[in-house]
């Protein structure tokens, strides 16, 4: 390992340790914002593992996240199963779902893929609502656990750590390299011997897995769950916006996008909740036009300017 790697590891461990003590020093409101932030760090980072190198913009995060939350709620409410069992099953179900979706859609390119994932997320939401209303009784589901906000926070933090370790490994692996080549030129990728379809499906599956795991862990926070609430399309857009704001070329990119955005988003939602959608649209436009490569790109440009 090079010294650079050791430096990154030390910084990561220190940041992680600092993040871990937040519940001891934060008040209730601050901790609830922190839970939201850690949730989006996990979602945006795992999203960027797939969409960053390949440039396949997926709007399906909400669907996988919803699968996680909904399965935990159904399992606990209707079948008296334990939270832990459901939190283990949910990501696996989402991973299988992601494989099926991936096999069907990853042949689509560019904007067609984006539209398809958006439509898909809506379809899953409506399907689940319909099943819930017609077969399982039209009532919400309760997720009652002994978890405090701090417990949820630490669990999410643990998931984030796993995502970062996975991302770090991926960046050094042949699979990660294959994804970068796919993002550059898919025709070249095929002709240098990359199984492009499977490489994309595997990473799409990973993204789905983590989104569902996070959805499952956060479910106890809401206590009462409705399909329309957990399968929110807004979440898919937020994940994309935060990841793009930070920048997807580096593993830590989404992290630096999520934290400021969560704070601003929280502020807007509590003070001008009628304008949150408007703000979302404006933020998206600003990012695409002003900082298309995110904060990471901005830092790189500045770095180059200083050196010359």
């Amino acid at each position: 390992m090079r010294t650079n790697d050791w430096q990154s590891i030390v910084i990561a461990v220190v940041l992680f340790a600092l993040a871990a003590i937040v519940p001891f020093i934060a008040n209730g409101y601050q901790l609830s914002v922190a839970v939201t932030a850690v949730m989006y760090v996990g979602l945006a980072t795992s999203w960027a593992l797939f969409s960053g190198p390949t440039h396949y913009i997926s709007l399906a995060s909400g669907a996988f996240f919803g699968v996680g939350g909904y399965l935990v709620a159904t399992g606990m409410s209707d079948y008296n199963l334990s939270f832990w069992l459901m939190a283990a099953i949910a990501p696996l179900v989402a991973a299988v779902l992601a494989i099926l979706i991936g096999l069907a859609t990853l042949r689509l390119s560019g904007v067609y893929f984006v539209i398809f994932t958006l439509g898909l997320a809506e379809m899953v939401r409506n399907l689940v609502s319909w099943i819930q209303n017609n077969f399982l009784g039209s009532r919400g589901l309760y997720v009652l656990t002994d978890f405090t906000e701090a417990h949820i926070y630490w669990m999410l933090l643990g998931v984030c750590a796993i995502i970062f370790i996975f991302g770090w490994w991926l960046g050094r692996s042949r699979l990660g390299f294959a994804l970068r080549i796919i993002g550059n030129d898919e025709a070249v990728a095929k002709h240098v011997g990359i199984n492009t379809a499977w490489s994309k499906v595997i990473l799409f599956m990973t993204t789905g897995f983590f989104a569902a795991l996070i959805g499952a862990i956060i479910a106890p926070r809401y206590s009462y769950i409705e399909p329309n609430q957990v399968f929110s399309p807004e979440l898919s857009f937020l994940v994309v916006i935060m990841a793009l704001l930070g920048g997807t070329q580096r593993l830590w990119g989404p992290l630096v996008g999520v934290i400021p955005f969560t704070l601003v988003w929280e502020f807007i939602n509590s003070n001008f909740s009628n304008f949150s959608t408007l703000f979302l649209g404006l933020a998206f436009l600003l990012i695409v036009y002003v900082i298309p490569r995110g904060f990471v790109g901005l830092l790189q440009t500045w770095g180059e300017k200083i050196r010359t």
Binding site: F177, I181, N184, A187, V188, K190, V192, G193, I194
Partner: protein
């Protein structure tokens, strides 16, 4: 190097696009250590033929095989893994990767499966061999056209291919660069590599190819040593038309 056993066999390969028959019943063999040229007027189906071999396109009928195993039904990545590497008619560099990464990309997944420090070392030695030692740490968008072509060739060689497909690799080079390019391919030939090249530059065909196949309207109209086929009346007619 002496020409060895038959490596690649094309047997009645046909490709239809709707009503258009781009390649029509092509048959030829390529032997080990041989440089085989595919020539013909524009639109005669040469690039389509290359795309059939590399798996970019699938044959409508006929069979392409390497050392007895069929390639015609395999997807491109599996064909690459069997040891067929290619360059593209319009050069295709991976723009967000470094020069060295562009070369490693060729070897990491295909036939050679090189990874880690071994892959890096091999990539550096290829770049040096192809005359890109000084450009090794430049950004890829700073490369000149011929250097981009060299880089693409290095990427193809990184997989240690059994058969190398060069699709108009010399096209677009100026006269000085052209000589450099011909010498480069000539050095590959001296190493005993098996190469199929599609080319318009007649000097290159004459000096590089052991044998060539002439295509016109998707069909093979001649096959043999370059000097023979280039004086064949039918070949002359295909290029220049009737008097």
């Amino acid at each position: 190097m002496t020409i060895g056993r038959t490596l690649l066999q094309v047997n009645g390969a046909t490709k239809r696009f709707g009503g258009l028959i781009a390649v029509n019943g092509m048959s030829f063999d390529v032997k080990e250590h041989e440089v085989m040229g595919i020539i013909g007027p524009n639109g005669s189906g040469k690039t389509t033929m290359m795309n059939l071999i590399s798996g970019e396109l699938r044959v409508t009928s006929g069979r392409i095989s390497m050392q007895g195993s069929s390639l015609s039904d395999l997807p491109p990545h599996q064909i690459a893994r069997l040891g067929i590497a290619r360059t593209f008619q319009l050069v295709r560099i991976l723009p967000s990767l470094s020069v060295i990464e562009n070369v490693i990309a060729g070897g990491a997944f295909g036939h050679a499966k090189k990874w880690g420090s071994g892959a890096r070392f091999f990539a550096e030695s290829l770049l040096e061999k192809l005359g890109l030692a000084e450009q090794m740490y430049q950004p890829v968008d700073a490369l000149t056209y011929i250097d981009q072509k060299r880089l693409e060739l290095a990427r193809a060689l990184a997989s240690e291919p059994q058969v190398l497909l060069l699709d108009e690799w010399l096209a677009g080079l100026n006269p000085t660069e052209l000589q450099v390019g011909i010498d480069l391919i000539s050095s590959l030939r001296d190493e005993g590599r098996t190469i199929i090249l599609v080319e318009h530059v007649m000097d290159a065909i004459r000096s590089l190819c052991d044998r060539c196949v002439v295509m016109n309207s998707g069909k093979k109209i001649a096959e043999g040593q370059p000097s023979e086929v280039l004086s064949d009346p039918e070949v002359v007619r295909a290029y220049l038309g009737d008097e």
